[in-house]
């Protein structure tokens, strides 16, 4: 089977001060805060999703889409992020470990 060629790189990335930029700021801020908060969260929240804004957990949801929809309704896109409550890092396996050498 012939291989399809990758599409042309998207030429109009998100503009500065856009939703994407504000979201990236919230993601970074909330990720750092979440690492400190994680040990204090009750174990029954493991596997759920934390809706976060400005470094604080504002609610917990069973699924990512629940956190997303609530965040958009309460704060607007670009003004929140979410974190899965998980106590171990994701492992992409041995292929990803060695891929830079292949």
């Amino acid at each position: 089977m012939p291989l399809s060629q990758p599409p042309v790189l998207h030429q109009d990335p998100w503009p500065k001060d856009s939703v994407a930029q504000r979201t990236a700021e919230q993601v970074s801020l909330n990720y750092e805060a979440f690492r400190k908060i994680l040990p204090t969260l009750p174990p029954e929240h493991l596997g759920k999703f934390a809706l976060m804004k400005d470094g604080a957990v504002v609610d917990i949801f069973d699924v990512a889409m629940g956190a997303y929809i609530a965040g958009k309704e309460r704060f607007g896109l670009g003004n929140f992020s979410m974190q899965k409550i998980i106590d171990r890092p994701v492992d992409l396996g041995y292929f990803s470990h060695a891929m830079h050498q292949l």
Binding site: M1, L3, S4, P6, P7, L9, H10, P13, W14, V19, A20, T23, A24, V27, S28, Y31, A64, M65, Y68, I69, K72, S81, M82, Q83, K84, I86, P89, V90, D91, L92, G93, Y94, F95, S96, H97, A98, M99, H100, Q101, L102
Partner: protein
């Protein structure tokens, strides 16, 4: 059940074409793009993962960072919520609102993504290799396809 069966390339591994697009529920102001790339079927990967370049082309937005372990350290990686289309022999199986992780790999390889156990172990999906061939079968429609869309 929709399947794909192909000869195994021992250099590239078992590959399948996938499409990545941003769910319209997430980016109503963004033009929707479907980016089609080769994915390595990887039973060793916890999560389906895409190159950063694929995320950029598909214009998907990261709403989360999650720790990932690599060969010698743990680092934070972007998580995206995407619509994933898996191209099988006679059909395309679409998974809506799937979490995928960003990872860095060698661009000289064919694959630009890993299809991980989150998809391979979902429902009655199956993957097998024998006699120099591999077969991937995916249940369709999958449970995630029924998520509501935001107006």
């Amino acid at each position: 059940m929709p399947c794909i069966s192909s000869k195994l390339d021992p250099i590239e591994g078992p590959l399948v074409r996938i499409g990545i697009s941003s769910p319209d529920i997430l980016l109503p102001e963004s033009p929707h793009k479907a980016v089609t790339v080769w994915a390595l079927i990887d039973t060793g990967a916890d999560l389906t993962s895409i190159f950063a370049s694929v995320a950029e082309k598909a214009n998907v937005l990261s709403l989360e960072k999650r720790d990932m372990v690599s060969a010698n350290h743990t680092r934070a990686a972007n998580i995206y919520i995407v619509n994933l289309q898996v191209h099988l022999a006679d059909s395309i199986v679409e998974l809506h609102a799937l979490e995928v992780m960003e990872f860095a790999g060698a661009e000289r390889r064919k694959c630009r993504a890993l299809l991980g156990r989150d998809v391979l172990c979902m429902g009655s999906n199956s993957f097998s290799m024998a006699n120099g061939r591999y077969e991937l079968c995916l249940e369709a429609p999958l449970a995630r396809a029924s998520l509501p869309k935001l107006k």
